[in-house]
Symmetry: C2
Subunit: 154 residues, 2 copies
């Protein structure tokens, strides 16, 4: 039941890439500038190569937090309705967010997130890129891996 | 598409209590002691009145982080397989964790989490209580509420 770190192999890399590729939403962790405590909320996510993309509103609390401190973490990989959710694979990215080019990324994003076409062009919506400095894959109890951003590329 | 804060009413309180009562797992945000950045992972959760309970292993990264800094946040309320996940209601708790009495809470916990009976009594598993100092309910776009721990009681 422990979480020893296993050596990263191609199977683990493929699992991690699949979790990043398939994610449409995720839990975003930021530091709340008012309290200094963590704050977790749900955001729409996509990816551009090894980087996660976030489409977030300037009017929301998480965006204000990121303006104050770009440090962030994302939990990707939603459990299905069946089985033990704690054995379902999930991926944690940790790093800092930077602005991304909303216009250039628009077509690829809307292919994967057609419903966001309703508000994609709203001025208060921004695209941000999370460049991961640490990557953790949890493939279920006892199957933990620590990876790099490079493991998510390709 | 904005997130204005609405006045808390009984309907919002009932929705928030339901999200807390029904949650069996959640996204936990902590501060990574090695990097100072947020770290989000999945944990088993329950509740004891208005407080969320976490069953976590001492061997895991989030537990080591909480030992260094008890500040934490939980995102409760998992989207189903249908519909837009960003319109699904969710609840964010923010506060600090304290140790809870694993023996006293055992029967109630195992009723809701029967699969954890396999490891509940393992010495490295601890029960922790998140006492929320801030509570945020997002009932979907444009339906945001800021609540108190008292709104979750009863």
């Amino acid at each position: 039941m422990t979480d020893p770190i296993r050596p990263t192999d191609d199977e683990a890399r493929a699992l991690a890439r699949g979790l990043l590729r398939d994610a449409r939403h995720a839990a975003l962790g930021v530091t709340d500038p008012e309290t200094g405590l963590p704050f977790v909320s749900r955001v729409a996510v996509g990816h551009d190569g090894p980087d996660a993309l976030l489409l977030i509103s300037s009017l929301s609390g998480h965006t204000r937090a990121l303006d104050a401190d770009p440090g962030a973490s994302l939990l990707l990989g939603e459990p299905g309705p069946k089985g033990d959710p704690l054995t379902h694979p999930r991926l944690t990215l940790q790093g800092r967010v930077t602005p991304a080019d909303k216009a250039t990324l628009k077509d690829a994003w809307l292919r994967d997130h057609p419903k966001t076409a309703l508000y994609y062009d709203f001025a208060d919506f921004r695209m941000m890129r999370l460049v991961a400095s640490r990557v953790f894959l949890n493939g279920g109890f006892g199957k933990a891996y620590e990876m790099t951003r490079e493991d998510l590329a390709g």
